[in-house]
Symmetry: C2
Subunit: 432 residues, 2 copies
Amino acid sequence: MISDSQPLKESQTMRAGPSQEDIRRHNLGALLRHVHLGGPISRAELTSKMGLNRSTIMALTSDLTAAGLVREELPRETGRAGRPSLVVRPESARVYVFAFDVGPDRLAAARVGLGGVILDRRESVRERGPFKLDELTGTLAGFARQMRRKTRPDTVCVGAAAAVSGGVRKGDGVVRFGPNLKAEEVPFGEELGRRLGLGLPVSVGNDANLAALAEHSRGIGAAVRDLIYLHGDVGIGGGIIAGGHLLGGHDGYGGEVGHMVVNPGGRACGCGSNGCLEAEVGERALLESAGRTRQRQPAEQEPPGQPREPEPPGQRGRDAVRAVVEGADRGDIMAQDALTRIGDWLGLGVANLVNIFNPEMVIFGGTLREIYLGSAAQVRTQLALHAMAPQRERLRLRTSALGDAATLVGAAELAFAHVLSDPLEVLARVTG
Amino acid sequence: MISDSQPLKESQTMRAGPSQEDIRRHNLGALLRHVHLGGPISRAELTSKMGLNRSTIMALTSDLTAAGLVREELPRETGRAGRPSLVVRPESARVYVFAFDVGPDRLAAARVGLGGVILDRRESVRERGPFKLDELTGTLAGFARQMRRKTRPDTVCVGAAAAVSGGVRKGDGVVRFGPNLKAEEVPFGEELGRRLGLGLPVSVGNDANLAALAEHSRGIGAAVRDLIYLHGDVGIGGGIIAGGHLLGGHDGYGGEVGHMVVNPGGRACGCGSNGCLEAEVGERALLESAGRTRQRQPAEQEPPGQPREPEPPGQRGRDAVRAVVEGADRGDIMAQDALTRIGDWLGLGVANLVNIFNPEMVIFGGTLREIYLGSAAQVRTQLALHAMAPQRERLRLRTSALGDAATLVGAAELAFAHVLSDPLEVLARVTG
């Protein structure tokens, strides 16, 4: 991003460095971003959307074609007379990244082509329990090897990134905390990069942050500059797009809305506090309120980090949460009461965030998708009670468009970021 | 701001528009911003800070000098041999803006010179009561006239802006809500512009937002890219700088952290909700807890918008709040208990914001400056209990450096914004 206080340079007038190259680099990235996010587009449309002239667009697309990042084709049909404008398409089958997702219950990996196409995908169940770095990165690297073996020889992997259910330090991919993964101070990005053996660094981000990025890039929040994405899994995560940019905070831990205290003195939270949004709305609160799991007595609540007594399978996880929402639909009174209670706290949390951020859209993803759909009346009531009218009058409440793929799609966007900011670097790698 | 997907243009290589002019315009703004925010600076330092060459810096400073925005002078003394580098200074005495502040208890106006120097200032007490648009804009316009009469003939007013204790719609300066001003849907900016009669539009912003901008531009938060400024007056306002940009939200109401519910079912708030940070920490909560004002019974709490029974003077306002903090210092038990209670809620609110934003700094301004200083232990305890360790480990808690001037200084920054983004426009006005 170019900030206001940085000077622009132009060699012709100001003789101050390699500016033609800078400008070309920037414009190549801008054009590739159009194709990557918007899909196939004619040269004529690019000319008009980017405000550059035809010969410039032609030069840029030639460079990107030479780099193997896009290809140009005649359009299938054209209603107009005259020579049709060539259509620029991303080389989705050829240029790809690896995207990974580490959730409390799931390990997933995907091969995602330029343009955001999921080309291949692997998934396995993760047992809740201690975070085993070796085993986990081994599984993910194995998935990548399997998918790589199936690719054509001319394909090229240009990046890798992972979404993790936890707080990730900006810069080095260390998972600083992840109560629902039982992870603490884990050098995850480094180790996964080593296991992949592709000679590529692995970027790591918080799963809800990356899902927010995905919904903002190519989901329900495309073209929305101010949005809040709330992600339900075992816990509650958040990703915030403010003024078009992901809110990262000073060290990269921004968006941890699940640990906003909404109910002082309320339910114990895995983070060590009480009454956090996650504690009142997360999986355990819902399942216990609905009588779907053995209610823990306060004396039984273990301090965070200690192993829990194993529970019978099927009593937790996404399927168990969905079963409560379906039960409420079918008339199960306990499930209905649970959803009402959870919806009230969720609504209060959303109202707080609406007052703080004045977003255009709030998106409910992961298990919060079903929970919101089952408790929308409560959420709206709490919003009316606690969010200020001007803040909420143009607010839209939506559910995730990308569903369970949001975290993987977001990780892929993170992996593609360096390609979009400097396609020439990829060109150099491919041709050099 | 230039976003990543906008193309850069260079006429020489790409023949696409008046790019030399665009670049010159951008660089003039960047240079003026350095001088405006950093103060006098030598050409040599500008050359190194901006990464442009000497002849370019010379050309830019010549243009700004011609526009009367800066002047160049020989430095007072130089320790070095050889020709000294000229020092570029903002024309603070010549180029100014009008800044206004409308608080619950105070009307203020200032003439602020380029470089952020307060050249002149007027202030009057505002009686709490209905928002009288005519009277209020009349007073402020009168202040401006008085200050203008005292200026030299060669001075030039380049902008005007106002800080208002309320929610201001982006774009048109309408005060949508301001429970502590009893303002609702007031076309404030338009009316003040008309009354000033300077032929200049008046930009309007929320007071805490503008104070945040001021502390970020030239206060304790200079060079801090992620900060939260909390402003105490009758209510609690907030201004958030995220990634170097003021968080405005979709419609401009971002940062209303005072209406985050921290205590569900708690004290009634002027916004119509209960248990908002403002209700638990604001002036009334403090004074009532300290026994400094007649305690209202629940039945007495009027609905928002209705006139309150008048209270004896001296029992409220900034002085009354400060008196509680001083009382606690001197051993007044009720005052100490009140500060403990208020500090606990303030700390919980700050912990929530730290989890959500992961800021580098939280700044306490307005009456919260004294309240924080009197209850720092409570605030830190709540942070330790409720903010996640990685989020708070590098956090700095600070008090406002600009004090009561923060809102006016912030309004001045808002008024100067268009000059900094396009100094040529000012040049055209002055020379044309």
